[in-house]
């Protein structure tokens, strides 16, 4: 009994630490990229004759036709069956204040069109929607707060491919502290980031004080 308590205690402690790590104030992810491998290995001896095998420098044709941009099809629908969410998705850019633009129509979620798409080789696909509206009351994304780990999420793209994800992380963070460069990261493994508002509401300024950011990872079940 005592041992079991201890195990649970350890798990809870570990969990608490994870929560602390995931909350606001996490250092900007870019900082980790600044390590300089050249410096670390700069003193390693690699003396060789000039005509020895040269280092493998990446090389490619610079011809226009060999460098066409590969554009992934935009997402067109998002479903979280366990939360009763099934909404259309359309591309957006920025609004006049430099924020991600969203649709007033509650039946349409917004995909940040300059970021990654579900079929992209790398990066975060960002889909956001309003949590509520004066006209339509609570909207589907209000139910994101009830997501639990491993809950399935499906995103269909314009090519008809269904990309399957599993919920991994839910963060509700004060708006000033959200790590937007991480949420909109175009590098790293493919993932899905869903954003809406949450937390307390500022009645005077008609705005929420926090953002809810849900991260889901691919389960490889695209069809």
């Amino acid at each position: 009994m005592k041992a079991a308590t201890k195990v649970v205690g350890t798990l809870i402690a570990a969990f608490a630490m994870l929560v602390a790590l995931s909350a606001c104030g996490v250092p900007d992810g870019r900082a980790a990229d600044i390590a300089s491998p050249a410096e670390e290995t700069g003193t390693r001896s690699m003396h060789q004759a000039p005509t020895a095998t040269p280092p493998a420098v990446p090389r490619r044709s610079a011809a226009l036709e060999d460098n066409r941009a590969l554009t992934a099809p935009p997402p067109s629908r998002i479903e979280i069956p366990d939360l009763g969410i099934d909404v259309r998705v359309q591309p957006v850019g920025l609004d006049a204040q430099g924020r991600m633009g969203l649709f007033d129509d509650p039946s349409i979620a917004a995909w940040y069109q300059w970021g990654s798409a579900p079929a992209s080789a790398t990066g975060s696909t960002v889909i956001a929607a309003h949590v509520d509206s004066l006209e339509y009351d609570l909207l589907p994304f209000a139910r994101l707060k009830d997501a639990i780990a491993a809950m399935p999420v499906f995103v269909t793209d314009a090519a008809g491919t269904v990309h399957a994800y599993a919920v991994e992380r839910l963060e509700i963070t004060g708006k000033a502290d959200v790590d937007w460069p991480a949420a909109f990261d175009r590098s790293g493994p493919p993932r899905l980031t869903l954003v809406t508002c949450g937390g307390e509401f500022d009645d005077e300024n008609r705005r929420y004080l926090s953002n809810l950011v849900l991260t889901a990872t691919p389960t490889g079940g695209s069809e």
Binding site: H47, P55, V57, R60, G98, W114, A149, R186, G198, G199
Partner: protein, 276 residues
Amino acid sequence: MKKILAAAIGAGTLVALGAVGPANAAEGPAQLSVLHGVPGLTVDVYVDDALTLDDFEPGDLAGPLELPAGAYSVAITASDAADASSPAIGPVDLSLEAGKNYTTVAHLTESGDPTATLFTNDIAQTAAGEGRLTVRHVAAAPAVDVLAGGAPVITNLTNPNEQVLNLPAGVVSASVAAAGTTEPLIGPADVDVAEGASTIVYAWGSLEDDNLDLAVQTITGLHSTPNGVPAGVAGLAATNAPGSDGGTWVAIGGAVLAGLALAFTALRRPAAESRR
């Protein structure tokens, strides 16, 4: 110097394949790419007398190499040369600053002589929805205009110079004409101006030899990030709990963690209620 460089090139190559890194880093290594723009000549490229590119073909782009800031000597020889002692181009001295991004181009002068030019690539952040298009004249040809959709967007560009445009992301139908004319010498060709990236187009080759062409280099990772997501106006989903991060959780063990998350929420709920 040679030893350090060889090691740095080895290490830099691995890194360069993956990440571009912070766009505006004022520290860290310099990045150097090499473009071969001399028609009909396969070459070897030596950096500080060390063979760095073997049998480098015209129209090919190598790199980026990550190099510690400092001075380097680049020599370009015929591909059958035994060493860098009798270069066809150079040796040229390059001074590379920390955190900057460079392309050195082996190319022809306006009058058709082989030469090499070091360009500094603009890697400043781009505005959302925009890409950066840089056009460099490295061809044996007089001054040119660059036309987009038939209208001049760059005028009187001479070898070995460049002009930089920040444009809405998209495909530009570009052609190169003698300055003051609209009859294309090159193109029209579709150039992808990708959002958040620097697209560098080189006009290279020789007008006299009728082998003018375009080459392209792309530097990604210059994009900006939205500064927020305004996703609610009515307050209907507001929590009354003090402290707004009560719902935050992370999954590592799937079901176990989900259970823990539920337990965590259950434990917190009475506490939150009692505080009201």
